[in-house]
């Protein structure tokens, strides 16, 4: 095969991959991923809070970890927002609402950590755990 032939093969392969990248994720795939990401982030947030309440981690780390969780949550939410059709689906909309709620709770937790308010952290952690199961 000539160099040009190899070049054409590479371009074809890149096109196939681009096609896969843009078009093949189903609504169910999106939903599954969002469920997993949300469960993971809820669990991360409550674990960080518990470790902080047990004085196992510093306030600096706890705030950094919550900030990172908020960034990851925002990225996940952007994936839903990019697909307006998906938001019309009640199941996806429900996940989207849950993400909004967790984002608000993380913001409140960061504030509570800044004030070293253990009671508020405990209360918010309990609220996140109570909503751990998605509808």
């Amino acid at each position: 095969m000539t160099h040009r032939g190899y070049g054409h093969l590479c371009v074809l392969w890149m096109l196939v991959c681009s096609g896969l990248l843009t078009g093949c994720e189903t609504r169910q795939d999106l939903l599954d991923r969002q469920h997993k990401a949300l469960t993971s982030l809820r669990s991360t947030v409550t674990s960080v809070c518990q470790a902080w309440l047990d004085a196992n981690v510093s306030t600096t780390y706890a705030r950094t970890a919550l900030e990172a969780s908020a960034v990851l949550l925002d990225k996940e939410h952007t994936k839903i927002s990019k697909s307006p059709d998906a938001v019309a689906d009640p199941a996806v909309a429900s996940v989207s609402d849950a993400e909004h709620q967790l984002a608000r709770q993380i913001a409140l937790l960061r504030q509570a950590l800044a004030e070293s308010n253990a009671d508020a952290v405990r209360q918010l952690k309990g609220a996140i755990e109570a909503g751990a199961e998605l509808p």
């Binding site: 994720e25 990401a37 993971s40 669990s43 991360t44 960080v48 004085a55 981690v57 780390y61």
Partner: protein, 404 residues
């Protein structure tokens, strides 16, 4: 006696130098999402790395040429441009990811954004290379890297069920997320069998002036050092599996990964994790920076060597400085270091056949290895690895799309 001490030091520093951003992130993700099921991938990748490194070391020890120089000489300058370009691209991304890893480690302790630490870390890397010699760089960084043994201690203290751990060494298919499992398998191989490691190792053999009677040192360092080093990676996977798995925490940031130490080390957890991540990534950053200088100098026939006076190796020094500066620019742009690690690991897999194929020829050429040519087993291994590498290279991009 001195030689045996040096060999033991080599083995110990191999353990300390084994773990870096790629191995920590892929092993932690694998453990958190699939329990012990991916232990076999780490074991397989380690065998591949040890065998390839031993061969690269053999070419350097017997033929007195690094891998890049040998490939250039045997296949010609035009062919060498392909692996050179691929390796430099991966080195650049990996270097940015490793420097990002150190910066995130400092962020975990200080709370100050990781981008602020990129330039100071880059400067520290450059200063160590500029003022250090090869022994200081290799042994110093390797000994500091012993802090990564914290992962093995954590895994030990968590007392994982031994039956399940043993089962993890048998390749198996998961009952969920097959694509993700396949992606993580390929990523673990890509994170372990980095091209920079092979050329850095063969260049190191020349820097340390190994000769034919030292071939046993080469074998012991590769098989024992890398074998023990992989135990640290397995420690990451087991700790993540026991701590993060039941919590359903997926590791998408280093902040999440740090949680795996909390049940074991309590108040020391974050400090220990940050030290292990920081030191591991710092060591890898130094090795990658040096390797970029090595591979460029060897490909273009410039004088090279970290032990030589800088004025005698001006182009080598300019080359590693330039690559470091480019990586710092990539790092400052603010890409997530963990995501960048996963992308560079996937690219490593893409170029793997290009890296492996020359071994098949060089290991059978008496001009390079004299009487120490590969036997049927070595050649069979390389042939299988070339085919396996080509298959992985074909599937890694779709896997990155669906499972990454």
């Amino acid at each position: 006696m001195k030689k045996i001490f040096n060999v033991l030091l080599g083995v110990v520093t191999s353990i300390g130098g084994f773990v870096e951003a790629g191995s920590i992130s892929t092993a932690a993700q694998g453990g958190a999402e699939f329990g012990f099921a991916l232990l076999w991938a780490i074991a397989l990748a380690t065998i591949i790395l040890a065998m390839l490194a031993e061969m690269a070391g053999r070419v350097a020890t017997v033929g007195r040429r690094s891998m890049a120089a040998a490939v250039r000489e045997r296949f010609g300058f035009h062919y060498q441009m392909i692996p050179l370009g691929a390796e430099l691209m991966i080195d650049l991304l990996l270097l940015a990811a490793e420097i990002g890893g150190v910066a995130v480690a400092i962020k975990l302790l200080t709370g100050i954004g990781f981008q602020w630490w990129i330039l100071p870390v880059g400067l520290a890397v450059w200063l160590v290379i500029w003022f250090g010699n090869f022994t200081v760089i290799e042994d110093g960084v390797g000994l500091l890297g012993m802090v990564t043994i914290a992962f093995v201690v954590a895994a030990w203290r968590l007392q994982p069920p031994l039956n399940s751990v043993a089962t993890g060494f048998l390749p198996s298919l998961p009952n969920h997320d097959l694509t993700r499992y396949a992606f993580l398998t390929v990523s673990i191989v890509g994170a372990t069998v980095s091209p920079y490691l092979l050329n850095f190792y063969s260049s190191g053999a020349i820097e340390e002036k190994w000769t034919e009677p030292d071939l046993w040192i080469n074998r012991v360092t590769c098989y024992l050092g890398m074998g023990f080093g992989s135990i640290v990676s397995m420690g990451v996977l087991i700790t993540a599996a026991v701590v993060l798995g039941p919590l359903h925490v997926q590791v998408n940031s280093y902040e999440q990964a740090a949680l795996m130490f909390v049940p074991v080390f309590g108040r020391w957890a974050v400090l220990l994790f940050a030290c292990a991540l920081g030191v591991g990534c710092f060591g890898a950053a130094i090795e990658i920076t040096l390797n970029a200088g090595y591979v460029l100098a060897q490909s273009f026939g410039w004088p090279w060597g970290v032990d030589k006076p800088r004025r005698d190796t001006a182009r080598f020094c300019a080359a590693f400085t330039l690559v470091l500066l480019l990586a710092l620019m990539v790092g400052i742009l603010g890409f997530d270091p963990l995501q960048m690690t996963l992308i560079s690991v996937a690219l490593t897999v893409v170029v793997m056949p290009l890296m492996v194929l020359p071994f098949l020829v060089l290991m059978n050429d008496e001009q390079y290895v004299k009487t120490h040519t590969s036997g049927a087993f070595g050649n069979g291994f390389l042939a299988v690895l070339t085919i396996l590498g080509a298959l992985m290279a074909l599937v890694v991009i779709p896997l990155e799309v669906f499972g990454g």
